[in-house]
Amino acid sequence: MSNIKNAFASGKAFIPFITCGDPDLDTTYEAVLKMAENGADLIELGIPFSDPTAEGPVIQGANIRALAGGVTTDKVFDLVRKIRKTVTIPLVFMTYANVVFSYGADRFISTCKEIGIDGLIIPDIPYEEKEEFTPYCEKYDVDLVSMIAPTSEDRIAMIAKEAKGFIYLVSSMGVTGMRTSFSDELGHIVEKIKEATDVPVAIGFGISGPEQAKNMAKIADGAIVGSAIIKILAEYGKEAPDKIGEFVKSMKNAVREA
């Protein structure tokens, strides 16, 4: 079992996401340190992909900026090595299947283990295709995070039973990005998950402010926020890490109240 359980050990978890290399890797490094200092329980590090089909316009933009700046998988690995000198909370990669596949699944996942990555979130690997990577995930003790969506219905128990690390519950239909309404089935879905597994559940997609984060953390074990952080980066660039720190603090406080 990986380090991920620690993120949920002391109450509701707040999980921020950042695309590595947007606008540059030094800014990502500073931002990750600020996130950790300000109460993030687990951080999702996005390895950019040219065609991120599960992302809305905000995170698509971050992927394009990062790649235009010359970020590669190897450079992201180096970034993690540097982050791991001070940051001890669980870290997971969020990327697309082809980034892992083209690097070589064994080589990619063994490197994850070596540099201190605890899990992988790959939105284009559903339950049916997880064997593509799980043999290597088991070999190197890196969790492949399962996703459950409002449309999962009769698939929930099947997915939950084999889930590792934590379960990423998609809040609503569509792609990532801020929104005002969420599936009203979420509470019911979490119940069904809990019947099948003890693995913690965090809700993501569309959560942008403290109130929403608090509401989601009431239903589940944690809240995940991506696009709202990318917007801070897009607005403040290299000055963003301090702002992100403040934002994470406010979100963590809200989640604590849940």
């Binding site: 992909f49 040219s50 065609d51 089909t53 599960a54 809305g56 316009p57 698509q60 394009i64 790649l67 590669t72 998988t73 190897d74 697309y96 299947a97 082809n98 980034v99 892992v100 596949f101 083209s102 690097y103 939105p123 284009d124 690997i125 559903p126 339950y127 049916e128 295709e129 064997e131 593509e132 996703m147 459950i148 969506a149 409002p150 449309t151 999962s152 219905e153 698939r155 997915i159 998609v170 239909m173 569509g174 792609v175």
Partner: protein, 395 residues
């Protein structure tokens, strides 16, 4: 692990969880209706009465004599309603979607032919229609944008990435995750997650079924070569399908090499790509060393795609079909050649196949037979080809 919808190592269902129940529902519906006599009767009637099937297998006598080698037949998919093979798949999928209770079709389009076909079927069947098209392609194919709107469809220009076919596919997939309950994603090629590569192939297989019957009637034997252009590969798989078991029939797919396979401005996936996972499938993709999908290029908007259908990847792996690169220049020459020689203006996509036939026919004996699928008509391309030749004309 062998998962569903595999062609050797290729294919599969690499899609977000949000879409899994939608594709499972589609698989179940297709498994049911593909053997349903009433569904097949309705589809056959649409093919014959609406789409103008069977399409002709035309002996290109002048071209044959001019090239002085193998006998050349043209499978005239350009004579279908809406001017391309795309209508075969669309009528099948729209009928299936209707049976499933869907009221809205979404589609991606490159050259616009699939978008036009989808808009047409939606109009016919009283369904709502939204087509995603790369902004670059809306400029290259402005006439088709007008046609889709005329047919009642909404056309959404996609500005992300290279603003071409791959980005239109990504955007259509995003829209589908947003709204699956009433919406069917009418995918236009033999690509994407299972069951699309199989469904689209089955609806396009009518091309080779007819070729076989027609050539047996005209020549009393099977052809030596059947060939077609390959982007995602739907007209090619339709052309190959009923010949796959006939080992003496050579299958040739003609890829868009753009400015050449030794340049970065190419879309020849099998020739220059490697195995990857993208747009729901494992197959060959043009990509960099880190798996970032490459910005591809071809004069033809319909072939300007960085991947190829998984069944083609498999046919290549087992050596059953070969895939050859054809450059922009060669395709444009073939576009003009067929127009002048036979009075048939082929789509620039189809011209890639014609170009390869021009190369190989003279090297073959006169008793050999080549069948080329002319996947679409070239009216849509006239302004772009004129510009390629330095003539500035307006549509």
């Amino acid at each position: 692990m062998e998962t569903e919808g595999r062609f050797g190592i290729h294919g599969g269902q690499y899609i977000p969880e949000t879409l899994m129940n939608a594709v499972n529902e589609l698989t179940a519906a297709y498994e049911h209706y593909k053997n349903d006599p009433e569904f097949n009767r309705e589809l056959q009637e649409l093919f014959n009465e609406y789409a103008n099937r069977p399409s002709r297998l035309y002996y290109a006598k002048k071209m044959t004599e001019d090239l002085g080698g193998a006998k050349i037949y043209l499978k005239r998919e350009d004579l279908n309603h809406t001017g391309a093979h795309k209508i075969n798949n669309v009528l099948g999928q729209a009928l299936l979607a209707k049976k499933m209770g869907k009221t809205r079709l979404i589609a991606e389009t490159g050259a616009g032919q699939h978008g036009v076909a989808t808009a047409t079927a939606a109009a016919l069947m009283g369904m709502e229609c939204v087509v995603f098209m790369g902004e670059e392609d809306t400029k290259r194919q402005a006439l088709n944008v007008y046609r889709m709107r005329l047919l009642g469809a909404e056309v959404i220009p996609v500005k992300t990435g290279t603003a071409t076919l791959k980005d239109a596919v990504s955007e259509a997939m995003r829209e589908w995750t947003n709204r699956v309950s009433d919406t069917h994603y009418c995918l236009g090629s033999v690509m994407g997650p299972h069951p699309f590569p199989t469904i689209v192939r089955d609806f396009q297989a009518v091309i080779s079924k007819e070729i076989k019957e027609q050539i047996l009637e005209k020549e009393g034997r099977l052809p030596d070569v059947v060939m077609a252009c390959v982007g995602g590969g739907s007209n090619a798989i339709g052309t190959f399908y009923h010949f796959i078991e006939d080992k003496d029939v050579q299958l040739i797919g003609c890829e868009a090499a753009g400015r050449g396979i030794d340049t970065f401005e190419t879309a020849a996936t099998v020739n220059t790509g490697r195995v990857g996972i993208f747009h729901g499938m494992k197959s060959y993709f043009c990509q960099d060393e880190y798996g970032q999908i490459a910005p591809v290029y071809s004069i033809s908007a319909g072939l300007d795609y960085p991947g190829v259908g998984p069944e083609h990847a498999y046919l290549y792996d087992i050596g059953r079909a070969s895939y050859v690169p054809v450059t922009d220049d060669e395709a444009v020459n073939a576009f003009e050649y067929l127009s002048k020689t036979e009075g048939i203006i082929p789509a620039i996509e189809s011209s890639h196949a014609v170009a390869h036939a021009i190369k190989i026919a003279p090297t073959m004996d006169k008793d050999k037979i080549i069948v080329i699928t002319v996947s679409g008509r070239g009216d849509k391309d006239c302004a772009a080809i004129a510009r390629y030749r330095g003539e500035d004309i307006h549509e």
